[in-house]
Symmetry: C2
Subunit: 109 residues, 2 copies
């Protein structure tokens, strides 16, 4: 049985519009802007924001895929795209899902 | 003897144009853009960039003054301004100098 995830052989192939629409439904906090998906997270203060950023960094290293990260005191804005594919791939949605999971697990704790 | 630094009583007063010009000479890697000073740092990879970002974060917490931080894989872009003063203050230049010192001390090591 083949899983339609990043196990599927070519996680860095550009996704079709329909595939993007389907995957976006699974990470409802993220918005597509241009060739990327973006989400902003807010925390009580800078220290909590940095705890989150470091967990995002660990997830990024594990997945060998790195978001752009913008930190403005207690706000962290993340931008995900796959530069070498020229657009969105399954890797972007896999990392978005992992980041959402960090939040569910209480990343700022 | 009064020191003309952040000990001078009002580190969060907006600086005059002449004061900014004088202080900019002491942090030559930084450029004034609008009401802020900015500098970009490059590292061998994302991991080294994150080591630097965490040292910047510690310095920011110590000085209770926080730059905007943009991380794009191995590049870290920092933007310093004092929002409540509506422009640049001595606090921005004190943090810029502390960040430059991190680099001299080998922040990515």
């Amino acid at each position: 049985m083949t899983q339609a995830g990043s196990d599927g052989g070519q996680p860095t192939s550009p996704l079709t519009r329909e595939e993007v629409a389907d995957l976006l439904r699974r990470v409802p906090g993220w918005k597509m802007i241009g060739n990327a998906i973006e989400r902003e997270f807010r925390f009580p203060d800078f220290r909590d924001a940095m705890v989150f950023v470091n967990k995002v960094a660990e997830a990024a290293e594990r997945q060998e895929h790195h978001p752009d990260i913008v930190i403005s005191y207690n706000r962290v804005h993340l931008v995900l795209t796959t530069h070498k594919a020229g657009g969105l791939t399954r890797r972007d949605f896999a990392l978005a899902a992992a980041i959402d999971e960090l939040i569910r697990a209480g990343a700022a704790g």
